[in-house]
């Protein structure tokens, strides 16, 4: 039985026929970064200020880890759950429920595909930012990849929970969007780096995307890594995935 590879292949084929989904998965973070870098004025001026960790950076430099965080959020919280919600709505999942395939494989196939497209999308964005916006390349590539992978797994688990329960694509999208915007706020999309007030920054560090954003930023600029956001991400991951598989609805 080659159910998992068959599911992944089938999903990849379907994705290749859906231009909107390809854009969202692969090019959205790049588009976001280029817009911020090229259109919004003042993003390439040096920040200055008191914090030695950030004083030499330009706003656009800070946007890179944040754009990656946004990509993480949009793929895992809206694209992926609404794909499964749509399958539930149309009865595709019920159809699968009559076969020996089981919910784990259906979820895992989606998680793997979303994970791969996330990594590709992030890689394209980083290369574009470094080449076109003259942004800083990460200090430690391996650390950044590690942190990004952990953040991706964590966010896909959060997305799995929405995917496991939402009755329709629209429903999944709605729930996903609400969580997404809260996550964007805690990730510091509107208040990058030192611009976020310290108490808020501490609270945000305990939220899934806030923790992802903070450790990604630290890894990117070679700042001292705090273990707290890493632990926060691990702690979020396990129960979310467990609940998602246990509460998965076929209809």
């Amino acid at each position: 039985m080659n159910a998992l590879p068959a599911l992944i292949r089938s999903e990849a084929t379907l994705l290749s026929r859906n231009p909107t989904a390809i854009f969202m998965a692969l090019l959205f973070p790049t588009a976001l970064l280029l817009l911020q870098g090229l259109v919004i004025p003042g993003t390439d001026e040096v920040l200055g200020g008191d914090d030695p960790a950030f004083a030499q950076l330009r706003a656009i430099d800070l946007f890179i880890p944040i754009a990656l965080t946004v990509a993480l959020g949009s793929v895992t919280l809206t694209n992926f759950p609404s794909a499964i919600g749509g399958y539930r709505e149309k009865g595709v999942l019920r159809r699968l429920a009559t076969t020996p395939v089981g919910p784990q494989r259906v979820l895992i196939a989606q998680v793997i595909l979303s994970g791969v497209s996330l990594v590709l999308g992030a890689a394209i964005a980083v290369v574009a930012a470094v080449m076109l916006l003259d942004a800083q390349a990460p200090r430690s590539v391996f650390l950044v990849i590690g942190v990004f992978a952990l953040a991706a797994v964590q966010m896909l688990c959060l997305g799995s929970l929405i995917a496991a329960r939402a009755s329709t694509a629209q429903n999944a999208n709605g729930i996903g969007m609400v969580i997404f915007f809260v996550c964007l706020f805690t990730a510091g999309v509107w208040t990058p780096g030192p611009l976020m007030a310290e108490p808020l920054r501490q609270i945000s560090g305990y939220t899934p995307l806030g923790a992802a954003s903070q450790s990604l930023t630290a890894a990117w600029y070679g700042q001292p890594m705090s273990l707290i956001p890493i632990a926060v991400m691990v702690i979020w991951t396990v129960p979310l995935l467990f609940i998602a598989i246990r509460t998965f609805r076929w209809r």
Binding site: S10, V92, R95, T98
Partner: protein, 248 residues
Amino acid sequence: MPAIRIQNLRKTFGKHVAVGDVDLNVAQGEIFGILGPNGAGKTTTVECLTGMIRPDRGEIRVLGLDPATDLSALRHTVGYQLQSSELPNEMRVGEALQLFAAFYPNPADIDELLETVGLRAHRKKAFSSLSGGQKQRLSIALALVGNPRIAVLDELTTGLDPQGRRDVWELIENVRETGVTIVLVTHFLDEAEALCDRLAIIDHGHTIAEGTPSELIEASGLPSNERRPSLEDAYLAIIHNNELLRAA
């Protein structure tokens, strides 16, 4: 060993009693029809026997398997065509069959199956561009792709034109020839009369009659003077008698 034996099946959803007390006996190799008015409990019964939902009470054996404890083996043994289910719009006929074939250890040959259901020429067609009849035939093919020993087909020909229905009937006869036991849920009496070896009538969650079409006609007690009563006449009489009984 019977293909399916159900005794004293009961399933409630909250306060609603979907199935009160259903008994069924299906022999191997037969085409067995489950008839009954809308909301009688037909679909709930087959959902219990295919392990899609858990009954509150009652005994179910499907080729000796208990859906509650042998679910994985049951999924390999029973193909279930749902009343209404779709596939992703962009998925093509051949791709759908290939995907579902990958879920089973000994799947059917996809080319042969496409030939059997008359979709060979439409192999590359996207699901969204199939006609109602083609979708129905694909759905039947998906229920058969795992080489099941029992195929449960719910509302087989709803929404098909007369030619489409006849084509599907012929397809079902062909599948039976290969030794597959078939359970048909339908409310088309002509379909049941044309296809089924034996059938059961379910009404208000109870089995109220079971037998061959001619046994049911006899059991209805209808006089057969100038015109032999049809299965439809018998069905309506049995349902009507049941209503009178319930009222009394």
